[in-house]
Amino acid sequence: MEIQRTIKYDADRVKGFGREVMSVPGCEQLESCIQCGTCSGVCPLSIYMDYTPRQVMALTRGDFKNEVLKSHTIWLCASCYACTVECPREIRITDIMYELKQRAIHAGIYPKRFPIPVLAREFSAMVKKHGRITEMLLVMKLFLKTNPFAAMGNWRLGVDLLKTRRFSLATEKIKQRGDIARMLDATDAKK
């Protein structure tokens, strides 16, 4: 009988990916992960994830770039920081998830029409333009760009918001809108 490894290994790795992530400020501690699984245990969303947070830590450190950036896990993370405060090795797991989200958006390989990255992009575009968020406008844009039918399914919510006078589409803006654009440009200037 021939014993074979069931997991493809070296072929799937993008060498250097783990090092790269661990060189980002806030992500250094990943190196000392002991795979205890505390993060997966306390995560309120791990039951919906394709890879648990513990697995994402191992995959990231092990250079499995494609598996990690394509995973739903990074988009299901709601940034509640439960894993971060519970981790016995003080790994800032939430911040690593943020780092992976940024890399996925940058690489354009997040799940298509998955609403969370769309929300993140629409959100940042609105802030860049107006300096503030008008929540109802953001929600409407999100539904139109991802799932117009879901918006109709939520009609009750709209009615409740109208009744309680919380439904407002008047755009919130700051005075020095030019400052926001100038600051964001200056952020990119020397990176």
Partner: protein, 296 residues
């Protein structure tokens, strides 16, 4: 006691009842709030997912504005704003590269951030600056008999808050007890409400909301008290979806500031109580006359 008030987008939008109740309550306690002029969005969780450096730069503009406008501590009532502003402050001190980026970006618009401005939550200010004794003295209508599940959510106590415990926070418990209410044991007090998942991945988000509401109901709570506009929105606005999926769980969710306003006997119309989809109908009665005079 003077603070730079940073409302954030939610307190001007879906969470306006929070601002509506916060302002009169703080005024009643002699806490002076000066709204930060021309503040911008803190970036919340969404911007961090797009570009961390830019997210920190956006938040840093508000910190710099506060230093320029009187250099008072910032009061940030929204848990997400509180977290992002504190996170930026930490990154500014911890990572020289981030400090350099922030300095450069702020410099492009003639602003500067020293890194000193404290960022505080109203609960912190109420417990540590105002004090429970001063709050008790203002109670005209004790919330006697009201059973409350105090719900802190995630981003207030994790990971940066220093004024309360990350695992078992108690500041809001002590506050509502000072108002005369009873706190029920609620082990989910720091469990995540799902954030924006209620809208983006409802099969997960709605379930998280249901779990929180159902547990509060099982524990005999007549309402949940919250410190965050997104928690309040999630627990209040998705009742139809919760009902369709799991059955009706009607527990109202109020801001702790609304409870304070009721206990202080402030006019109800000033407290934004009409904003909730699941109305909070419980009302306190006037304290016996002798007690009121003693307190005055």
């Amino acid at each position: 006691m003077k603070y730079s008030y940073f409302p954030g987008c939610s307190l001007k939008g879906l969470g306006r009842a929070y601002e509506e109740s916060l302002l009169p309550v703080m005024k009643h306690l002699g806490v002076e709030l000066q709204e930060l002029d021309d503040w911008n969005c803190c970036g919340a969780t969404a911007y961090m997912a797009v570009d961390e450096a830019k997210a920190c730069v956006l938040a840093a503009r508000n910190l710099a504005l506060a230093e320029k406008q009187g250099n008072r501590p910032i009061m940030a009532p929204c848990a997400a704003c509180y977290l992002v502003l504190n996170k930026t402050k930490h990154y500014f001190h911890d990572y020289p590269a981030m400090k350099e980026t922030i300095d450069r970006a702020l410099g492009a618009v003639g602003l500067r951030y020293s890194g000193d401005t404290p960022v505080r939550h109203p609960l912190d200010v109420l417990i540590n600056d105002v004090g429970l004794e001063a709050i008790k003295q203002k109670v005209r209508k004790p919330l006697k008999g009201l059973r409350i599940a105090t719900y802190y959510g995630c981003q207030l106590v994790r990971p940066y808050a220093t004024f309360d415990d990350q695992y078992n926070p108690t500041t809001m418990d002590r506050l509502v007890e000072a108002l005369g209410a009873t706190v029920v044991r609620y082990p989910l007090k720091t469990k995540c409400c799902g954030g924006s998942l209620t809208g983006t991945v409802p099969e997960a988000g709605i379930r998280m909301v249901y779990i929180l509401l159902n547990e509060a109901k099982k524990r005999g709570a007549e309402c949940l008290a919250t410190v965050c506009p997104l928690c309040q929105f999630n627990l209040d606005a998705y009742h139809a979806q919760v009902k369709a999926e799991y059955g009706s769980v009607l527990v109202p969710t109020v801001y702790f500031t609304q409870l304070m306003g009721l206990a202080f006997g402030l006019p109800e119309r000033e407290l934004g109580l009409n904003r909730a989809a699941i109305p909070f109908k419980w009302r306190p009665t006037e304290a016996p006359a002798d007690k009121a005079t003693a307190a005055a």
